[in-house]
């Protein structure tokens, strides 16, 4: 989890900087968004739109649209949650962020071990994220702009994704997901990603079912 969360630190710090710089979001309220929403892309979308003076609904709708991808994560981890106790099925989704999804949907473990693993990874990510955003709010203004960490997150996802493509339908799902997302790159609020994700799932499922017949 640590290698996965290291790139999240500058992300959180950038979010903290954005909070510190706008008069529309009080620093403490901005920091609270890390525990209320616990999703960096949605938080950054909401803070950016609030800072532009966009009012109430554009930041709200923007943040929720950015996080619609979690519906797909939720669907993907259903088999993992089926044998879990009720309290965990209610609390677990709160910790279902990109990094936790990426790790826990790959890891092969028994239900009890998986739950402990998920809670540890998610708990660590939660604490790490609160600290990162706080650091951004307090120290953000002195980070040198010459250090560009924008590539760190996509580089991380490449490293996670490629080794997991062990079957032909999985490879097809990833290739179609990539190409369709690129084709719809201009859609606002990362809408192209949703279209690409759905297209990739359809392509992979089609290839899988076709290989049966």
């Amino acid at each position: 989890m640590l290698p996965l969360m290291i790139p999240a630190f500058p992300f959180g710090a950038v979010l903290g900087l954005a909070i510190a710089e706008t008069e529309f979001v009080p620093n403490f309220v901005g920091w609270l968004s890390s525990s209320i929403i616990f999703g960096g892309a949605a938080q950054l979308t909401a803070v950016t739109l609030l800072a532009s003076g966009a009012g109430f609904f554009p930041p709200l709708i923007g943040a929720i649209v950015v996080n619609v991808r979690h519906v797909m994560y939720s669907a993907a981890v259903v088999p993992r949650f089926r044998q879990q106790p009720r309290w965990f099925r209610w609390f677990g989704p709160y910790l279902l962020l990109d990094q936790n999804f990426a790790l826990s949907s790959i890891k092969e473990l028994e239900p009890d071990e998986w739950r402990a693993y998920y809670l540890a990874a998610g708990g660590f990510a939660w604490v790490w994220w609160q600290i990162a955003v706080a650091v951004g709010i307090v120290f953000g203004p002195i980070i040198p702009e010459a250090i560009d960490l924008s590539f760190a997150v996509p580089a991380l996802f490449i490293g996670l994704l490629v080794p997991s493509l062990r079957t032909r339908p999985a490879l097809l799902a990833a290739v179609v997901g990539t190409l369709v997302t690129v084709a719809f790159a201009g859609v606002p609020n990362r809408g192209g990603m949703l279209i690409g994700g759905v297209a990739g799932v359809v392509a992979g499922t089609w290839a899988d079912l076709r290989s049966d017949s």
């Binding site: 991808r69 259903v78 996509p154 490293g159 997991s164």
Partner: protein, 104 residues
């Protein structure tokens, strides 16, 4: 207070998106085609998320002009194929990215 209520409602929306399948259908058997489809949600969404981070909102042409990102991505994919380890791929991609950023 506007910001606070935006965060609260966005937080509820985010939790709902994360919980909908886990809380809603956790006990029930899913139809076979859905169960099969879930196998490809991870690959498709991770690929779409990566592509979106690299190309949105300016498109693939703008991305291809960013030599450090393109070279870093290629090296990352190659290292991941060769070593099947995300940490090796991640370090290789970032090393190439930072080296080219410094040189160009």
């Amino acid at each position: 207070m506007t910001a606070f209520w935006v965060f609260v409602l966005a937080g509820i929306g985010t939790y709902a998106a994360r919980a909908v399948f886990i809380v809603g259908v956790g006990d029930r058997e899913l139809p076979p085609v859905v169960e099969r489809g879930l196998l490809y949600v991870g690959p498709a969404v991770l690929a779409a998320l990566t592509a979106s981070l690299l190309t949105s909102p300016d498109g693939v042409v703008a991305f291809l002009e960013n030599v450090p990102e393109v070279a870093g991505s290629i090296v990352g994919v190659a290292a991941a194929l060769r070593f099947r380890r995300f940490d090796v791929s991640f370090v290789a991609a970032l090393t190439v990215f930072f080296a080219l950023t410094a040189l160009l």
